[in-house]
């Protein structure tokens, strides 16, 4: 049954290139340029799927992205399958596999159709009224029913393997962005481009021309050319202009603030596998910043809502024209027209002209245009004025319609008669496609003539032209487009002269004469009428009426109660009908009902495409230090610290992580350890007021720190809570080198700039980040001095000459180095800073020099352990945004007398001065082998009572200390500082709490004295 419905000589499909694809397990033949829809129709098929709720058969209704429900699953590969693909937009190609979704066991025989049988019990929102459990049957609640409902819902299936394709997003700026390449958009783009402006023209379908491609190209001339030639000429003009970009198969999906528009380009979906360029992404998001936008997105035909209007074979009249002219396919063999306006009559004429059979024109209007009636008569088409379709028949495709006359009250009069047909082409009028305009936050207005909404007041730099602006006449649409294009160019500061617009001659129907009918009467009671509004979500007119009666009368409530317009098409064809039906039900006008909110995207956008290239390996930079390669080569275990990756430990072959940490930590105290400390934030501070500045940003005093010396500082937020810490060195009286935590580097610099620029602009201070200027190797332990001595020149390492908390400049080879005698471990320690490009070399020198002395590189885990042995805090581990210096029992770091500093006042609030706050203490478990879990809670009893259990605090850090031969922990405990020696218990999930003694947190005590 191939090609039976093809009409010779029409359409853009390439008849020299047949294409075979599979649908529902069968081979289907079409031509290059066909969509699944046009190929199916050419083969006499129209049913493609099942509806969401009642599993009713669904066929092709539209011819483009406005189709409400004709969706399939494309691809049978577990990784590259696509659910909910619209047959009307998916171009066919060799190898394409498509299958119906939401039906089982097959498209034709679907168990889910039982829902349809019981439809009367499942009106809108029925699920709110049941399944909630009752006093007697509590188990009959949602948890029992949900799995069944879930399994029945949903449409297609998600892939089960990761996506093999890639995506990309790109940025562009332009002067004029034109969306839609119908006659209006083409005129806008060419006229804007004449000015020299940078123009981008976007078209959703593969071809320029819009509705011109859906009309008989021979009966319309523009500027003396056939419509097709005119389109070709515009295309030529645009392609010759280097400042114009034309994008087809590209949908403008989102109109955001400040003329930021998102486009989604389908780069490869239409190509067979072997033609897909591996260098190209599957889809591309264009992020456009346009000075001016011209919307030329056309109009969307709306169907009529009548009884049994959802059968496959009931199609929009414009879609019938599109299939005929764009694809050369007659969608039916005997086509009945049903309309309330003139434009659908064109469909009848076109069918006749193509040699098809028209079963008649059923029109609800009484007064018909005489010219049209005459044309119909000439074409041998029977016309039924003041008549309505009141029902249809046909199992998987309509085979006949029942019609009846209407009286002046719009009610059914007389008896039903039957008209045989295999396709009903309906038109309820046109809705200007205002989605993007509304997204831009423009204000819609009601147009009585169209009985629809169209753009009212613009809010952004944008103008609408053509059918999307309610201008349906072709000549007017072109003129309006041209004007919009020129005005947009001028608004973007270009000059352009008006030129005469081409004359349009056409015998296509240009009038509308619409008589709105929101629901066609059926003569049946409401419960017997199956008049569908939203074909995807199975919303019937009666559902909207029920919602209104029940009190869900606000348009937003009705939407949510019935799910009207909440499907993948977002109500493109159905919303205005729904508003009309609601208006009738409420006895008010449609504009009084208002619209629901148009939201992005205009059409669903692939999630992967939104992620763009920033996924997988490209997700986030893996920031590494100059020594990173060395750590990698040692098979270090890494940990993410913000964007950085830091070496956590260096297990040797066969060694466990924990064993490695113990070994590294032991070495650091017995021989020497080496840590890559490059990631610490570093800020160069200079200016005569630098000391004053430091006094204000740190809690402690900086007035007396002499050049050559270093000091530890605590930084608070204005709320008094510890936010960062680090060592700052005095380089010269007006020059300091500050270090911050790794994670705090950026935020501290921002905070300091903030205070400097906005609170204390009178201070003469400059700040510059030098975080990545320096590579830092921290070497510590009993052998550190010897090792450092063997490579550093120009520094007297004698502790008397180079004491703790000072720094010196020296050289390593010819490389200038700055060495800080600070310690985060309690061991004698040197933090050697060299310019980053020498970092790797420095590290290798230290490793080599240290080898004879047992130098052991250690990672962040051993670093944490070592500092805990010495009782140093880590901001973010001992603190959590609720901890003051007093809570840390670090009052020594808070200068009482120096004047104000950030957060000072907060320390004297009633709550921050409470004496039962949690305080940092050390904890020694009675069982020294037991290492408490970090985060474990502290309780006051040996047994865990039933919840709620009073909690006294929690373990912030805990390690097995190789140097003390037992476990150590730090904890924040209520009143901890005053409870030395007390026993508390550490709660354990499922186990008996572990007793521990509260102690000071300098576990090494004076044994290792390098403490600030």
């Amino acid at each position: 049954m191939s090609g039976t419905s093809r009409v010779q000589g029409r359409g853009l499909v390439d008849r020299s290139r047949p294409v075979t694809f599979r649908f529902d397990g069968r081979e289907i033949r079409g031509f290059e340029g066909d969509t699944i829809a046009s190929a199916l129709l050419a083969n006499g098929e129209i049913m493609v799927g099942r509806s969401f709720k009642y599993h009713r058969p669904r066929g092709i209704v539209g011819a483009g992205s406005d189709d409400p429900a004709a969706m399939v699953q494309v691809g049978d590969d577990a990784a590259a399958t696509d659910p909910n693909v619209m047959v009307t937009t998916q171009e066919i190609h060799a190898g394409l596999q498509a299958g119906p979704q939401n039906c089982w066991p097959s498209l034709k025989y679907d168990i889910g159709v039982l829902n349809d049988v019981f439809m009367r019990f499942f009106p809108a929102g029925f699920y709110y009224k049941t399944f909630m459990g009752s006093d007697r049957f509590r188990w009959l609640n949602w948890m029992t029913f949900e799995p069944l409902i879930r399994a029945a819902a949903g449409l297609g299936k998600a892939p089960s393997k990761p996506d093999p394709d890639s995506y990309e997003s790109v940025n562009r700026h332009c002067d004029v962005l034109v969306i839609g390449a119908g006659p209006a958009g083409l005129a806008a783009a060419t006229n804007a481009a004449r000015s020299g402006a940078r123009v981008i023209l976007v078209e959703e379908t593969p071809h320029l021309g819009g509705s011109l491609l859906a009309s008989d190209g021979d009966t319309t001339t523009i500027g003396g050319k056939s419509a097709a030639d005119w389109v070709e000429a515009q295309k030529q003009k645009l392609s010759e202009n280097p400042d114009v970009t034309v994008l087809t198969r590209t949908t403008a999906f989102g109109y955001y603030a400040m003329n930021f528009v998102g486009l989604i380009q389908r780069v490869k979906d239409h190509l067979p596998e072997h033609q897909r360029d591996a260098k190209q992404p599957r889809q591309r998001v264009w992020r456009i910043r346009a000075k001016q936008v011209v919307l030329a997105t056309g109009a969307i035909e709306r169907p009529l809502v009548f009884n049994e209007n959802d059968r496959p074979g009931i199609m929009l009249a414009s879609a019938v024209r599109t299939f005929l002219h764009r694809y050369g396919v007659l969608a039916g063999k005997r086509i009945l027209i049903f309309a309330n306006n003139d434009s659908a009559w064109q469909t009848a004429f076109d069918i006749r002209a193509a040699g098809g059979e028209v079963a008649g024109i059923v029109d609800v209007r009484r007064d018909l245009d005489e010219g049209l009636a005459l044309r119909a008569l000439k074409a041998g088409i029977s016309v039924h004025p003041r008549t309505a379709i009141v029902g249809t028949h046909g199992r998987h495709r309509v085979d006949s319609a029942f019609v009846a006359g209407l009286d002046d009250g719009g009610n059914i009069r007389g008896t039903r008669s039957r008209i045989e047909c295999d396709l009903i082409a309906v038109s309820g009028g046109w809705n200007p496609n205002v989605a993007l305009f509304a997204q831009s936050r423009g204000k819609l207005k009601w147009d009585e003539g169209l009985a629809s909404f169209r753009p009212g007041q613009s809010w952004q730099e944008e103008r609408s032209a053509g059918a999307c602006n309610g201008t349906l006449d072709l000549a007017d649409a072109i003129a309006e487009g041209a004007k919009a294009g020129m005005e947009a160019a001028r608004a973007a500061d270009f000059t352009v002269r008006a030129v005469k617009q081409p004359a349009v001659e056409t015998d296509a129907v240009q009038t509308l004469n619409l008589v709105p009918v929101w629901q066609v009467p059926s003569g049946l009671p409401r419960e017997k009428t199956k008049a569908f509004v939203d074909l995807q979500d199975d919303v019937k007119a009666s559902d909207l009426q029920l919602a209104t009666e029940e009190g869900y009368d606000s348009v937003e409530h009705a939407k949510r109660y019935t799910t009207q317009g909440m499907g993948t098409d977002q109500g493109k064809t159905s919303n205005v009908n729904a508003f009309g039906i609601m208006a009738e039900a409420r006895g008010i006008t449609v504009p009084e009902v208002g619209t629901t909110t148009f939201r992005q995207p205009y059409r669903p956008v692939t999630i992967g495409a939104l992620g763009g290239q920033h996924v997988g390996a490209h997700f986030m930079p893996r920031r590494g230090t100059p020594m990173h390669d060395w750590h990698r080569a040692q098979n270090a275990i890494f940990e993410p610290v913000g964007d950085w990756l830091r070496a956590r430990a260096y297990p040797k072959a066969g060694e466990s992580f924990q064993a490695a940490v113990q070994r590294e930590a032991r070495a650091a105290r017995t021989t020497a350890g080496l840590l890559d400390a490059t990631t610490l934030g570093k800020i160069d501070i200079r200016g005569k007021d630098a000391r004053t500045f430091l006094n204000r940003v740190y809690t402690n005093a900086w007035s007396k720190l002499a050049p050559g010396h270093c000091r530890y500082g605590l930084m608070l937020g204005e709320d008094g809570m510890v936010s960062d810490d680090g060592v700052t060195a005095c380089i010269a009286d007006d020059h300091f080198h500050m270090t911050t935590t790794t994670g705090g580097a950026a935020s501290v610099l921002q905070k300091l700039e903030d205070y400097l620029q906005t609170e204390w602009p009178d201070l003469d201070v400059w700040l510059t980040t030098v975080t990545e200027q320096w590579a830092v190797a921290a070497i510590c332990g009993p052998k550190a001095e010897q090792i450092v001595a063997s490579i550093v020149d120009g520094i007297d390492l004698d502790p008397a000459a180079f004491p703790f908390m000072t720094w010196r400049d020296g050289k390593i080879g010819s490389v200038p180095a700055r060495v800080f005698r600070v310690s985060f471990t309690g061991e004698v320690s040197y933090e050697i800073n060299v310019p980053a490009t020498y970092g790797h070399w420095l590290w290798e020198q230290l490793i080599a020099a240290g080898k004879p002395h047992g130098l052991t590189p250690y990672g962040t885990e051993a670093m944490h352990l070592l500092r805990a042995e010495k009782g140093f805090i880590i901001v973010g581990q001992e603190t959590d945004g609720t901890v003051t210096p007093g809570d840390l029992r670090m009052d020594w770091a808070v200068a009482k007398k120096k004047g104000d500093f950030i957060g000072k006042r907060s320390l004297s609030r009633s709550d921050t001065m409470r004496d039962d706050r949690k305080q940092l203490v050390g904890l020694l478990t009675f069982d020294g082998d037991h290492v408490p879990m970090e985060g474990a809670q502290i309780i006051g009893t040996a047994d865990e009572p039933a919840p709620p259990v009073p909690m006294q605090g929690h373990v912030t850090s805990a390690y097995f200390s190789p140097n003390l031969g037992r476990s150590i922990a730090m904890a924040l405990i209520k009143r901890g500082g005053q409870r030395m020696g007390e026993t508390v218990w550490i709660a354990r999930n499922g186990d008996k709490p572990v007793p521990a003694k509260i102690v000071g947190y300098d576990f090494l005590g004076d044994a290792k004295g390098e403490a600030a």
């Binding site: 949903g154 394709d165 949510r560 109660y561 909110t597 992005q600 763009g612 993410p640």
Partner: protein
Amino acid sequence: MKRYSALELIRQGLTGHRGWDRVWRKPEPKESYDAVIIGGGGHGLATAYYLAKLHGMTNIAVIEKGWIGGGNSGRNTTIIRSNYLFDESAAIYNHALNLWKGLGQELNFNIMMSHRGVLNLAHDEGEMRQLKRRVEANRLNGVDSEWLDAKEVKNFCPSINISGDIRYPVLGGTLQRSGGVNRHDGVVWGYARAADAMGVDILQQTEVTGILTDSGQITGVETTRGTIRTPKVASVTAGHTSVMAKMLDIRLPVESHPLQALVSEPIKPVLNCVVMSNAVHVYCSQSDKGELVIGAGIDAQLSYTQRGNLDIIEHQMASLMELFPIFSRLRMMRQWGGIVDVCPDASPIITKTPVKGFYVNGGWGTGGWKATPGSGHVFADLIAKDEPNRIAAPFTMDRFVSGALVAEHGAAAVAH
């Protein structure tokens, strides 16, 4: 109020569904009420419901400037959990969770409460520590919460990618099995219907434009439908909390930001629980209808536009790809924004104010949906008794003077 049941549904089905009652009346505003609640979101309606049910205050009105549920209640990702760190938070959120459990039945309205479990993932050492601390605190507070290692995470939620190759591998996570999602609109409607049945007037399309006082005591409100007298005004206006307070020259520690969410096209079930990750920034579940419901991030700037930026969504989707590479070919169907009222400590304000008779419930920020019944319950108590009860007491405004913040913000992964 005609009760809803399967039987009634069948009866109505046989008679064309013509016998259903209106869910709520459409009353004209009275001249005066015993109390006026501003804000017809979940919290406001729950407050009214409990005031009427538990405190016998039925001569009250809920005033809503748009349609009820049109604020954040209608635009949230409906994640419900109570595994908060601090005792104060655990108390109020768990109170809410317990109320959620029987709420559908109590309201005689199916709110589709699905206790399908909430996973909070950890991706680095710091998060592991924080989440373990939370699990332990939860357990001792009687909040259902457990720790899962990466493999157990995968077992519980097979669609997650736990590969070690990703930028921030999943190291483990917490699971609250009683957490889950529900149907936000159903909750709003259920509360409204039940409150209306007890006599509460729900005044939609009525905006409060001013609050009247006389010597420091509330006397009424000005609305777009006239003046209404009342001795008690309770603001439950989420994103507009500051705007309400400003009518009485009260400043609050609240900033209103756009927060976005989106849904994918509907698909057959692929995600069986709620997944939340802070480091990779993903909040995701699948609705009963089949869409993936994905919470995006908050815009940095404040705004009252219920919109947000595309780049937030783009980052969100890139993050989603880390944890769920199999979602890549699905499509975003709709995105939207709400206006969330964020407090510096990420905890709510439930408080009396210097103006006698003026009560404020707000500051729930990105995560107040889960609290709806609990919030309404304790707020009703505060309005009726003019004193916060034990659960509400930590959330008064006093904490911004004393410093006793309930700093979930600093302490735990708080979002949604």
